[in-house]
C-alpha cells in the first residue's frame, strides 16, 4: 500500500481552524468567565491630571448593600509597583512605574484612586459615586517637549525636567560635518500624534486565590501570559512564580496594548487574596482610553542633507517622546531601540545621528502600539524623502530608487547599532507597486485634472521594519531585562495525534492554523491531527508571547526545531525496528523508510505507538516522542515593501477621498496567504486611520478630549476602501521557513503613504508638510493659511 503523498499545506490559503468557535458565539473572552462566588470590581479614577490626594472617605460606599470591600492605594502598599522590563540601553533611566492604585498623588486623568468590590457590577459602579476624594490640583503638562522646559510642573522628584531618558545613536560629529558641507538641506518639524490602540475587546482580569495552597490563577486579556506571571510574582507580589498560573482566554485584539502588566492584574489578585473570593474587573471603553496604554506621541525635528543629484548624505533627528505619567512595561525601549535604530529606513545614508529625549507628562502611559517605534521611524524618513524630492524637483519614486540599499549590500548595517538587515531587494517592490498603480499614466491624469481644478495626489512609501524581535544577546545590550527567545514542545501521542505547545499565542493572527500547516508538512501527518496549544502557563514551557511580529519567525522556528528533533528520534527508533542504520533512513510523507527499499518502512504513527509503549526500545532511548526547544534566533528579520496611495482632495472643504491603495509587501515566504493578507489589510487600515482620522487629544488641563468612541475616530467600513495587495518574495536567511513576519508591516508602511499623497495633491498650493490626522478641518485650515 502506497498512499499518495499528502498535500502540502504550507502556502495554502487555508481557512482558519479558529473560526467556527468565534462565528457561532462560543468563544470565551475574559468577560465571559464566570466563577463560583465571583465578585465584581470597579475603580474610582482621578478626574484630575495632577493633584495631591488630601483625603479619601469611603464610609458611605462601604455601607452600601452588596459592597464587599473598598480599598485605596495605601491599603496595597504591601505589594510593589509594576516593573519596567525595558529601560533604554546604555544610558541612565529615571524609572518611575505605577502602583495598583495611586498613593498621595495622581498624575493623569484616569489613574486609579479607589477600588470597590461588590456582589455585582451594577452595585460596584453605584458605590463609586459614594466615595468622596478631596483633591488639591497641581500644575499640568501634557506636551513631551514642553515638559522639559523651565517652569514646567514636575511629575516625579527623581526625574529632573521630567526627563526619563536621554539617548542617542549614530555619529554626531560625522553627521554635523556632512551638514556643514552639504549642497542641499531640508528640515521639518514632524509630530507623530498620540494614538489609542483600541482593541475591540477592552482589557481586564479575573483573579482567583486558593488560601490552602496560596496559589493564584489569573485570567487576563494578554499577549504574554508567561511574562505577566513572571512580573506579577517575582516583582510585584514577591512570591515564587509557581504560585501563579496565568491564562489568556480568547483575546479580542491586542495591537500592543495587551503586552503589558497593568494595575488591574495586581488589584484583582490582591483583592482575591484579601477576600478569598474570585474577583473580576473588566474596563469599559472610556477606562480603556483613559488608563490603558496609548501609542506614538513623538515631536521631532528632522533634517536631511545631500547632493543636487538626489543622493542623501546626512540625517539628523531630535525626538521628544512622551512616556505618559509613568513608565509602562517596555516604553523606553520602544522609543529608543525600536525607533532610533531604524531611522534610515530603506536608504543608504552615510552620516546619521539621532537624539531621543523621553519625558513624563500628565497623560496615560505610552507604550508599544502596532509597529512600536518603527511606524514613527518610517513616517519620519518617508515624509522627508518626499520633502527632499520636492526640494530637488525630482520624482519621489526616483529619489527613493537612487538612495536604496542595493541587493548586493545585504546583510546591511545601517550604522545605528542595529543588527544587520537580513535580506532585501527594494527596487522590485517599488517597481511592482508603480506598475500596479499605473504610475506614469497616473501622473499624466494628475496633471490633466489639475487644469480642471481637481487635486489628485499620489503618495509613495518604501519601508523596512524589524520583525521577529530577538536575539537575547542583542536586546540585553539594548536594556531589555529578560530574554526574547521562544519555546515549543512537540509530542506525538500514542494515536499519532501531534500536540504542539508554544509560548507564542494568537489574538487574531491565526497561529493555530499556520503553525499546524508547518508541523503537518514537516511531519507528513494530516493537518487535522496537529493540535496547537497556547496561552496557559500551566503545563507549557516559558515563552515570551506574541508581539513585534515574532510569532512565526521566533515561535514558529522553535516549533520547527522541536519537530526536527522528533523526526531524528523517530528515525533512531525506526532504525532499531527495521534493523537498519539510521543514516540509511529517510523521513518523508510521514514515513521512515530505508533508502532504496521503500517497502521497509514505518509510519510516524507506528513509531509513536511503539515509543509510547516503550517495550523494546534501543539502549539509551527514552519512551515517547516528546521534544522541547528553547530557540533564540541569530538575528531579527527585516520585511519591506512599497505602498502607493491615490487620494483626491477637495480644496473647498478639505475633504480627502481615498481612491486606491496598492501595497507590495515582501514578508519573505508566506505560510498562509489568506492570513497574511488579513494581517496586511488590518495593518494598513490602522496606518490610514492615523493619517486621516485618529488623534488622542489632551487639553492643557490634561483632560482626554477623545475619551470615548464618539470622539476617537477609529474608522468604520465606510471610511476605508478595498486594498490591492501584491508581494515580492525575498526569503529571510534567519529562519528555516524563510519567513519575515507580517503583523506590523501594513501599519509601518501606510500612514506616510497617505500623507505623502495628500501633500502631493496640495503641492500646487505650496503645501510641503502638514501634521496628522489630515481631517477636513485641518486640510482646510492649512490651505487657508497657505493662501494668505
Amino acid at each position: 500500500m502506497t498512499p499518495s503523498a499528502p498535500e502540502r499545506m504550507v502556502g495554502q490559503a487555508l481557512k482558519r481552524r479558529e473560526d467556527p468557535l468565534l462565528i457561532t458565539g462560543q468563544g470565551s473572552f475574559l468577560d465571559d468567565i464566570k466563577l463560583t462566588g465571583m465578585a465584581h470590581a470597579a475603580v474610582l479614577r482621578s478626574p484630575y491630571a495632577h493633584a495631591r490626594i488630601r483625603s479619601i472617605d469611603t464610609t458611605q460606599a462601604r455601607a452600601l448593600k452588596g459592597v464587599i470591600g473598598v480599598y485605596v492605594g495605601a491599603d496595597m502598599t504591601d505589594v510593589n509597583p509594576l516593573p519596567c522590563a525595558w529601560p533604554a540601553g546604555g544610558v541612565p533611566n529615571n524609572l518611575v512605574t505605577p502602583r495598583a492604585l495611586a498613593v498621595d498623588v495622581v498624575r493623569f486623568v484616569g489613574e486609579g484612586v479607589a477600588l470597590v468590590v461588590a456582589e455585582n457590577r451594577y452595585i460596584a459602579r453605584d458605590a463609586l459615586d459614594l466615595i468622596d476624594v478631596d483633591y488639591e490640583p497641581l500644575g499640568v503638562v501634557v506636551d513631551p517637549e514642553k515638559a522639559t522646559m523651565p517652569g514646567a510642573p514636575l511629575l516625579h522628584e527623581s526625574a529632573p525636567k521630567n526627563i526619563c531618558v536621554e539617548w542617542a545613536a549614530g555619529d554626531r560629529q560625522g553627521t554635523n560635518a556632512a551638514f556643514n558641507g552639504a549642497q542641499v538641506t531640508v528640515k521639518e518639524r514632524i509630530v507623530n500624534q498620540r494614538l489609542m490602540p483600541t482593541p475591540m475587546e477592552t482589557r481586564g482580569s479575573v483573579a482567583k486565590y486558593e488560601s490552602s495552597t496560596k496559589e493564584f490563577t489569573l485570567w487576563t486579556s494578554s499577549q504574554a501570559p508567561h511574562v505577566m506571571r513572571l512580573l506579577l510574582t517575582a516583582f510585584v507580589f514577591g512570591i515564587p512564580e509557581t504560585k501563579l498560573r496565568v491564562i489568556a482566554p480568547n483575546v479580542g485584539g491586542g495591537f500592543g496594548q495587551k503586552i503589558f502588566s497593568y494595575p488591574d492584574m495586581v488589584f484583582c489578585m490582591w483583592a482575591a487574596r484579601k477576600l478569598n473570593r474570585p474577583v473580576k474587573y473588566v474596563e469599559d471603553r472610556s477606562e480603556n482610553f483613559k488608563s490603558s496604554t496609548h501609542g506614538r506621541d513623538h515631536v521631532t525635528d528632522v533634517e536631511i542633507c545631500g547632493t543636487r543629484d538626489g543622493k542623501i548624505t546626512g540625517l539628523r533627528v531630535k525626538t521628544y517622546a512622551g512616556m505618559g505619567a509613568y513608565l509602562s512595561t517596555i516604553a523606553p525601549g520602544v522609543a529608543t531601540t525600536l525607533y532610533g535604530r531604524i531611522i534610515t529606513g530603506v536608504y543608504k545614508i552615510p552620516n546619521v545621528h539621532i537624539d531621543v529625549i523621553a519625558t513624563y507628562t500628565n497623560t496615560a502611559m505610552v507604550d508599544a502600539y502596532r509597529g512600536a517605534g518603527r511606524p514613527e521611524a518610517s513616517y519620519l524618513i518617508e515624509r522627508m524623502m518626499d520633502r527632499w524630492a520636492v526640494e530637488l524637483g525630482m520624482d519621489p519614486a526616483e529619489v527613493r530608487r537612487v538612495n536604496f540599499i542595493q541587493p548586493n549590500e545585504f546583510p546591511y548595517s545601517n550604522g545605528l547599532g542595529l543588527l544587520p538587515y537580513d535580506s532585501g531587494n527594494y527596487a522590485p517592490a517599488l517597481d511592482k507597486a508603480l506598475a500596479a498603480v499605473g504610475y506614469t499614466n497616473m501622473r499624466a491624469e494628475q496633471a490633466a485634472l489639475r487644469k480642471q481644478g481637481r487635486y489628485l495626489g499620489i503618495g509613495i512609501s518604501s519601508y523596512v521594519e524589524i520583525c521577529g524581535v530577538a536575539p537575547t544577546a542583542w536586546v540585553s545590550k539594548e536594556g531589555w531585562a529578560a530574554g526574547l527567545w521562544e519555546s515549543s514542545n512537540v509530542r506525538v501521542h500514542l494515536t499519532g495525534q501531534v500536540v504542539v505547545t508554544t509560548g507564542s499565542l494568537p489574538h487574531g493572527q491565526g497561529l493555530e492554523t499556520t503553525f499546524a500547516q508547518i508541523a503537518a508538512d514537516e511531519l507528513g501527518v494530516p493537518y487535522d491531527s496537529v493540535i496547537i496549544e497556547h496561552s496557559d502557563t500551566a503545563g507549557t514551557p516559558f515563552g515570551y508571547g506574541t508581539y513585534g511580529s515574532r510569532s512565526l519567525a521566533v515561535g514558529g522556528t522553535a516549533m520547527f526545531k522541536s519537530v526536527q528533533k522528533i523526526k531524528e528520534k523517530a528515525k533512531r527508533l525506526a532504525a532499531h525496528l527495521l534493523e537498519a542504520n539510521p543514516n540509511d533512513l529517510i523521513f518523508a510523507d510521514g514515513k521512515i523508510s530505508v533508502k532504496g527499499s521503500p517497502d521497509r518502512a514505518k509510519s510516524l504513527g507506528e513509531i509513536a505507538a511503539y515509543a509510547s509503549v516503550g517495550a523494546n526500545l534501543p539502549a539509551g532511548e527514552e519512551p515517547f516522542l516528546d521534544e522541547t526547544t528553547y530557540y533564540d534566533p541569530p538575528n531579527c528579520t527585516f520585511p519591506f515593501g512599497t505602498h502607493i496611495c491615490i487620494v483626491e482632495v477637495t480644496p473647498e472643504t478639505g475633504q480627502v477621498d481615498l481612491k486606491r491603495y496598492v501595497a507590495v509587501d515582501d514578508v519573505g515566504n508566506i505560510i498562509n496567504p489568506l492570513v497574511v493578507h488579513g494581517q496586511l489589510h488590518g495593518g494598513i487600515a490602522q496606518g490610514i486611520a492615523q493619517a486621516l482620522y485618529e488623534h488622542a487629544v489632551y487639553d492643557d488641563n490634561g483632560q482626554l478630549l477623545s475619551g470615548t468612541l464618539m470622539d476617537y475616530a477609529i474608522p468604520n467600513a465606510g471610511m476605508l476602501l478595498n486594498f490591492e495587495i501584491g508581494h515580492t518574495v525575498t526569503p529571510s536567511p534567519v529562519n528555516p521557513m524563510g519567513a519575515k513576519g507580517a503583523g506590523e508591516a501594513g501599519t509601518i508602511g501606510s500612514a506616510q503613504c497617505v500623507m505623502n499623497a495628500i501633500i502631493d495633491a496640495l503641492s500646487p498650493m505650496g503645501v510641503r508638510h502638514m501634521q496628522m490626522p489630515a481631517t477636513a478641518q485641518r486640510v482646510w485650515n492649512v490651505l487657508q493659511a497657505q493662501a494668505k
Binding site: 482558519r16 473560526d19 457561532t24 462560543q26 473572552f29 482593541p199 475591540m200 471603553r285 468604520n716 467600513a717
Partner: protein
C-alpha cells in the same frame, strides 16, 4: 423590578429584572449567552448587536424591560440544525474575522442588512455596517464575506475566490 418574558433563539424565558438592566447584561449574565459582546459604552462599536423582532439593535443601549414580549435572536441562534448561516460561512470562507470579538455583532447587523437589501453593492455593505467597528480586518474581507453570503442566499454558486 420588572417581570419580562422574551423569546430568545426560539426559547421563551420569564425573568425578574432590575429596571435598569441592559439587554446585553440580561443575555450574557442571566441567560449565559456570552456570544453577544460589549466593546464600548457609547453605542458606537456594535459588538452587542442582536435582532429584536428581526431588526438589528444595540443591546448595550436597550433595556431588558423594554423587550417584554419580544423575540430576540443572538449569534448563538443563527445557525439551524448545526448548519452555519450563510453569513457565518461567508465570514469563515473569506477570512472576515481575526480576533473574532466584533464578529457576532457584525454578523447580526449584516443579517438585517441582507434582509433589507439582498443584492447590495460593496458601498452599500460598507454604509450598512457603519454602526459596527472592527479593528482587525480593515473591513476588506468583511465586505467580501457579506457578498459571499448575499450570493449564497440568492441561490447563486459561491466561492471565497469570487466573493
Amino acid at each position: 423590578m420588572a417581570k419580562v418574558t422574551v423569546t430568545v433563539n426560539g426559547t421563551s424565558h420569564t425573568s425578574d429584572v432590575e429596571d435598569r438592566t441592559l439587554l446585553v447584561h440580561f443575555l450574557r449574565e442571566q441567560l449565559n449567552l456570552t456570544g453577544t459582546h460589549i466593546g464600548c459604552d457609547t453605542s458606537q462599536c456594535g459588538a452587542c448587536v442582536v435582532l429584536v423582532d428581526g431588526k438589528s439593535a444595540k443591546s448595550c443601549t436597550t433595556l431588558a424591560a423594554r423587550c417584554d414580549g419580544a423575540s430576540i435572536t443572538t449569534i448563538e441562534g443563527l445557525s439551524t440544525d448545526g448548519t452555519m448561516h450563510p453569513l457565518q460561512e461567508g465570514f469563515w470562507e473569506c477570512h472576515g474575522l481575526q480576533c473574532g470579538f466584533c464578529t457576532p455583532g457584525m454578523i447580526m447587523a449584516a443579517t438585517d442588512l441582507l434582509a433589507q437589501n439582498p443584492n447590495p453593492t460593496d458601498e452599500e455593505i460598507r454604509h450598512g455596517l457603519e454602526g459596527n467597528l472592527c479593528r482587525c480586518t480593515g473591513y476588506h474581507n468583511i465586505v467580501r464575506s457579506v457578498q459571499y453570503a448575499a450570493a449564497k442566499m440568492r441561490g447563486e454558486a459561491v466561492s471565497s475566490q469570487n466573493a
